[in-house]
């Protein structure tokens, strides 16, 4: 540290190289901090638990051919459920309009008043029956499940006015923060619904970060959806997933050919559903990670290159310093300190740039405020990277022999 003043004095004579590396460090810090923050956000997002027993679930998306009338649908659904339950390895199944992470479905406002403008929270609406809880493996934390006699039929979206509903714990807390929700009334339509049960967690179908604030606010309504497309959620015994997945399509077609089950994504394990749902998040995380790695590598290479050039350029000077009494450690320390000083300048500028870039991202995109921990971690990482990158050329410099002082250039 005792060499700081003369190192700064010497750096004034190498402004271009110094500035270039400091700026490179600054830009790398600014971009890497924000990239890591975005990666963390995405990873947090895609690792959210859905609350369901994902490993045991298979999704079959069925489209009836010939647009059957609503009155025909219940019997078609009943036949399909019968077919599904007879497949070896299937333990349960239910039909629904949607399922977690599907990215499609119905969302309403739910509150204490029929006035739709006075809702307490957004909520995703799942059409379910008495088999939904055991099929999904949902944990009931209060109240009870639907009974078979409570399951109604709904042909259109605007007619849903369930007498009873089951909601998630998160939604119950929002609606009734001071006590139990079971037995209380809530409105998702102009008619009140009685909350008969609360499940621990059930994620909404939506993975968009814009809907993240109510991602655990789901409402189960006891209805069969009498439309021409249905998602069957099938529970499979452990170890039977591959067999069931390969047979389910053929079994349903054998029972009734008047349907379309897409060969591409008509039958999906929940693991596949999850992978598809978060493909863009994962892609963004990978892209940001790759950008960070490339930037860090370029910065490290820049430091190695410039320091190697300086060591070559100052070989005689290093020999003179050695002749005047510098130890190998002194020379090593000189170059490490020099790099640290450039690094400090870079991270100070980079810290400001990182916050500026974050503000811009906040204004332009749905990015949250950068946590200071990322800047601090980035600063430490960049300074360590700099020291690591400079180590090899600095060690080479420290091995320049003192006799170099007597050699002519």
């Amino acid at each position: 540290m005792m060499q700081i003043r003369p190192i700064l004095a010497a750096l004034r004579h190498h402004k271009a190289g110094t500035l270039l590396i400091a700026l490179q460090i600054a830009l790398t810090l600014a971009i890497v901090c924000n990239a890591l923050f975005i990666i963390h956000q995405r990873l947090t997002h895609l690792s959210q638990p859905t609350g369901i027993d994902e490993d045991s679930l298979l999704i079959v998306q069925n489209q009836w051919a010939g647009r059957p009338a609503p009155a025909e649908v219940p019997s078609l659904l009943a036949a399909d459920l019968d077919t599904l339950r007879k497949i070896p390895g299937v333990t349960n199944a239910y039909p629904s309009n949607t399922f977690p992470l599907s990215n499609g479905g119905i969302a309403y406002g739910i509150g204490h008043s029929p006035d739709k403008l006075k809702f307490t929270s957004d909520t995703a609406i799942y059409f379910t029956d008495e088999n939904t809880l055991p099929t999904l493996g949902l944990k009931l934390v209060a109240g009870r499940n639907f009974r078979a006699d409570e399951i109604g039929e709904a042909a259109g979206l605007d007619k849903i006015a369930p007498a009873v509903i089951i909601i998630t714990h998160e939604l119950a807390d929002r609606l009734f923060p001071d006590g139990s929700a079971v037995g209380k009334m809530a409105y998702i339509s102009n008619q009140p619904s009685i909350i008969i049960g609360v499940v621990e967690r059930l994620q909404t179908p939506y993975v968009d970060s814009a809907m993240a604030q109510w991602s655990a606010c789901s409402t189960l309504v006891p209805f069969r959806h009498l439309v021409d497309s249905t998602a069957y959620v099938v529970r499979v015994q452990p170890g039977q997933m591959a067999d069931v997945a390969s047979h389910v399509r053929a079994a349903l077609y054998a029972a009734n050919r008047m349907r379309v089950i897409s060969a591409k994504d008509g039958v999906q394990t929940f693991a596949q559903v999850r992978a598809t749902a978060y493909a863009s998040d994962r892609g963004m995380a990978i892209l940001m990670g790759a950008i960070s790695v490339v930037l860090l590598a370029i910065t490290a290479a820049g430091i190695v290159g410039l320091t190697s050039f300086w060591v070559g350029q100052r070989r005689k000077q290093i020999g003179v310093r050695r002749a005047l009494g510098a130890t190998q450690h002194d020379i090593l320390s000189y170059f490490l300190t020099e790099n640290l000083l450039i690094g400090f300048a870079g991270v100070v500028i980079g810290g400001v740039l990182a916050l500026g870039l974050n503000l811009w991202l906040m204004n332009q995109f749905e990015v949250e405020r950068l946590e200071p921990g990322y800047v601090i971690a980035g600063v430490i990482a960049l300074l360590l990277l700099g020291q690591g990158a400079v180590l090899a050329p600095a060690l080479r410099a420290s091995h320049v022999p003192p006799v170099e002082a007597t050699r002519s250039v």
Binding site: A9, Q317, V320, Q328, P401, V403, A405
Partner: protein, 240 residues
């Protein structure tokens, strides 16, 4: 102060061994001003680099200020260079990125000296060579003679026991060379031990004692029949 006994320095390649110094003996007493002369390739610079612990030697013994240096590690050799030896190079070897003050400060920093003492010594040494007013100048802003004076100030600032000069006037014109030489003589009169390598007979004649190196060995020109005639002629020219 400086004593080499049967010292040898061999440069080895895969096919050949070259003796730069062979059975080399020299004894420089404290306070002496010795000029080491010899033709190009005789081993003068090798002697100086070994004397200044810039290089190791192959065989023999070397005592510097009473210390046998052959077994010292790199750190110990650096410490001795820093504390006991002052170097004056032909090419001055100032650090171009540092001003005069910072250049003189370099060896003192490596000694771990406190800032006030460093400053006192630097200004004292610059004053001694008549360049105190140029402390903030950079080497490129000085003449060759002034640069060499800065190098002498750098060598003096650490109060070394031994001053090693390698062709100290080799890059200077006559007037500047005279000034530098007078400075060295003055430093010697004040008690410094100086060993100066030169091929300039006039410069060598100003030293207290001359040591001549030929083919890596010290020879007595007056006694060696091979060089007696040439020596007598050269000495006559210098006297005249």
């Amino acid at each position: 102060m400086l004593k080499m006994t049967h010292l040898s320095k061999v440069y080895r390649t895969e096919v050949v061994e070259t003796y730069a110094l062979r059975d080399f003996n020299i004894d420089v007493k404290e306070g002496e001003f010795v000029a080491v002369t010899g033709p190009s390739g005789s081993g003068k610079t090798t002697f100086l680099t070994i004397a200044g612990l810039l290089e190791t030697f192959t065989g023999g013994e070397y005592h510097l200020d009473g210390i046998e240096v052959s077994q010292l590690n790199d750190n110990a050799r650096s410490k001795i260079r820093n504390e006991k030896i002052g170097f004056i190079f032909q090419a001055f070897n100032l650090i171009p990125d540092l001003n005069v003050f910072d250049n003189v400060e370099v060896p003192l920093r490596y000694r771990g000296m406190k800032a006030p003492e460093r400053k006192e010594r630097i200004m004292g040494a610059l004053d001694r060579v008549g360049l105190a007013s140029r402390a903030k100048h950079y080497p490129a802003e000085l003449s060759g003679g002034q640069q060499q004076r800065v190098a002498i100030a750098r060598a003096l600032a650490g109060s070394p026991r031994l001053l090693l000069a390698d062709e100290p006037t080799g890059n200077l014109d006559t007037q500047m060379a005279r000034g530098v030489l007078e400075l060295l003589e003055e430093i010697h009169r004040e008690g410094a031990t100086i060993v100066m390598v030169t091929h300039d007979p006039e410069l060598a004649a100003r030293a207290q004692r001359n040591v001549h190196i030929i083919d890596g060995q010290v020879v007595d020109l007056a006694e060696d029949p091979r060089f007696h005639t040439a020596y007598t002629a050269a000495a006559g020219q210098i006297r005249s």
